[in-house]
Amino acid sequence: MSDAITMVEAVNLALRSEMQRDDSVIVLGEDVGVNGGVFRATVGLRETFGIKRVLDTPLAETMIAGLSVGMAAQGLKPVAEIQFMGFIFPTMEQIICHAARLRHRTRGRLHCPMVLRVPFGGGIHAPEHHSESTEALFAHIPGLRVVIPSSPKRAYGLLLAAIRNPDPVIFMEPKRIYRLNAQTVEDNGEALPLDSCYTLREGADITLVSWGAMIKETLEAADLLAQQGVSCEVIDVVTLNPIDHETILASVAKTGRCVIIHEAPKSCAVGAEISATLGERGLLSLQAPVARVTGYDTIMPYYRMENHYLPNTADIVEAVTATLEFS
C-alpha cells in the first residue's frame, strides 16, 4: 500500500480492512452496495463481502438508524451511511433516544456499538440540503461520540477506532476534502486514539483550533502567518464529544491567544463550548479574547453563494492578526 490515496479511499480502505478482520462489521445504507456509495466510499465491498455484510437498504433514514440500533444490540457492528448531512435529521430520535442511551438505561446490559457515517459540509457545489455542518446537534448529546477526520491517514485510523468503539459514533466526513489531497496510508489495522486532540503544528504565538475541512484553510493561514514571523500552533480537535479540553488549555497556557475556526454557524456551536471552557479554566493564560472564525448564523446557502458563507484563509489571517494586536 505505498500508493497515495484520498480521504474517501481511506474510508473505503478502513471499512475493507476491518470487515476482513471482524465478521460482525456490517455496512448498510442507501446505494452502498451495488453502486458503491454516491461518493464511492463503499465501492467493491459488496463484491468482496457479499450481500449479508453489505446491505442496500430501502430509502428511509430513520429506518437505517433504528435498524442499526437493533443490530448493534445483537452484537453486530453496523456501519451505516447517511448519504448527506441534510438527510440525517430523521435519524435523530433513534440516535438521541436510543443509540446514545441504550447502555445507560439498561445499566450496561445492552450497548450500541454502531457507527453512523455521514459526509458533511459545503464547498462542492452540491444541491440544497447537501452542505450543512450540524455537528453541534450531535456533540450536545451525552452518550454519543462525534468524530471528524481531516486527512486520509486520520480517516483510516479514526474510522477503525470508531468501529471498534463499543459505543455509538457519529463519524462525519468533510466531503470538501474527500479527494483534495492524497497521502500514503499503510493498511496496518492500527486505530488512532479517540477523545484526543491532534496537534498538527507546534507554535509559540497563538493557538488555532479547528476540525474537518477547515483544517485546510487553518494550515494555509498558519503558513502565510509564518512568513510574517508568526508562529501558530494548530490543533485538530477530531473528537467533538467528549472534547479533549486539556490539550487546548495546555496550548493556550503556552501561547496566550486562541482563534477557533469552524464552518458551522457561530451560535451554540462547538467553538462556543471550547471558548467557554477557555474562559472558565484558562482565563489567566489569555492575553486576548478568544476569537471565532465561523459560518454566519444563517441557512447554509445554495452553491452560488456558498463562498460568501464559508470562512476562508483571509478570514483566519485577519482574526489572528487582530488577536495578536490586542493589548
Partner: protein, 362 residues
Amino acid sequence: METVFQAQISYNQFLSDAGAPLQALPEWAGKPDILVRYYRNMVQLRQLDNKIIALQRTGQMGTYASLLGAEAIEVVLGELMLSDDVLVPYYRNHGLQMLRGLPLEDMLSYWGGDERGSASATMAEDFPNAVPIATQALHAAGVATAIRIRGEKRAVVTVCGDGATSKGDFLEALNVAGAWQLPVVFVVNNNQWAISVPRSLQSAAATLAQKAIGAGIRGEQVDGNDVIALHESVTEALKHAREGKGPTLIEAISYRLSDHTTADDATRYRSNEELKAAWEREPIKRLQTFLHAQGWWDEVQETAWQKEVAQIIQQGLDSFLQRPPQPVEDLIDYLYAELPDALKEQRERLIRNAQPGGNHHE
C-alpha cells in the same frame, strides 16, 4: 381497466363476548392445561395492575401505564415466545416481560423510576421498554436482521399501540421487514385510544392490519380479548418467522379499560357508555365463563388463586421497597464503556454533592 392487485383482511375469533364457542375450537383448547394457565396469569396481572395503581395514588410509584384490558395479549405472547426469541416491547408489556422471567421487584423498580428495572440479567437480549412511540418497531427489524444474517431460527416480537401505526418508524419497519423477509412479528394492541385520540381519528384505514398489505407482508385482525384466537394467530406468525417465511402484522382488537396512564383522566374525552360496553367484552370474564362451562375452574380455585397471587405480589413489593438506592455515580458511569476524561470532574462533583453536607444530599 384491469385489477392488478386485490387483498383481504381476515378477523379471527373463537369465543363470543359472552365466552361461548363461535366455531370448532382447536385441539389444544380441548384440554384445560394452557387455558387455565392463561386464566391464572391474567388474573395475576389484573390484581397486580390494581395494586400498582393504588401504590401510585399513595405516592409509592411513578406514573404508570396500566395493562387493564391488555391481559390476553400479554399472556398469550408470554406463553408462545421462546426464551431465545427476542422481545422488543413498548411501555404496556410488563406482564409479558414478567412471563419471560423478569422478577416482579425489577418490574416495579422500572415503574418506580429506577433504571435497574431495565437491567435485569433475566431480560437477556430483550430490549427495554420503548417510550417514544413506534421507534421499537425498527429495533425489532434490526434484531431480526442480525438473526437473519446469522441464519438462526429465532423470532422477534414487537408490540405497539394503535397510535404508533400512524408513525413513520412503524411503516418503515414493516417495509424493510417485508423487503428482507425478516423473522419478526409486529403486534398492534389496538385498544381504540391513543391517549385521547380515538381509533376513528387515527387513520382512515378500515383496519390497521391492512397496513401490512402496503408492505407486502402477512396481516390479520384478531380478537385481542380472546386468548384462543390470539393463540392461533400468534402461533402461526411465530412459526412463519422461525421458518424464514417472513414477518406478520397482527392487529389485536382490545380496549383500554384504564386511563392512558395514572397521569391521565379518560373521563375528559370518552363516554361511560362506551367504557361500560367494553367491559362486556373484556378477556378475563370471557375466559372464566368458558372455563366454568367446561368444569375446568370454579369458585374455590378462584378464591385460592386470588389469595396466592396477593401473597406473590406482596413479596415482590416488599423486595422492591427494601431495595437500596442506586449509587449516584451510576448517573454517569453507564454513559460510555469507559468514563471519558472530560467527564471526570463532573462525576466527582456529582458524588460530592450527594454526600452528607452536599447540595443534593438526601
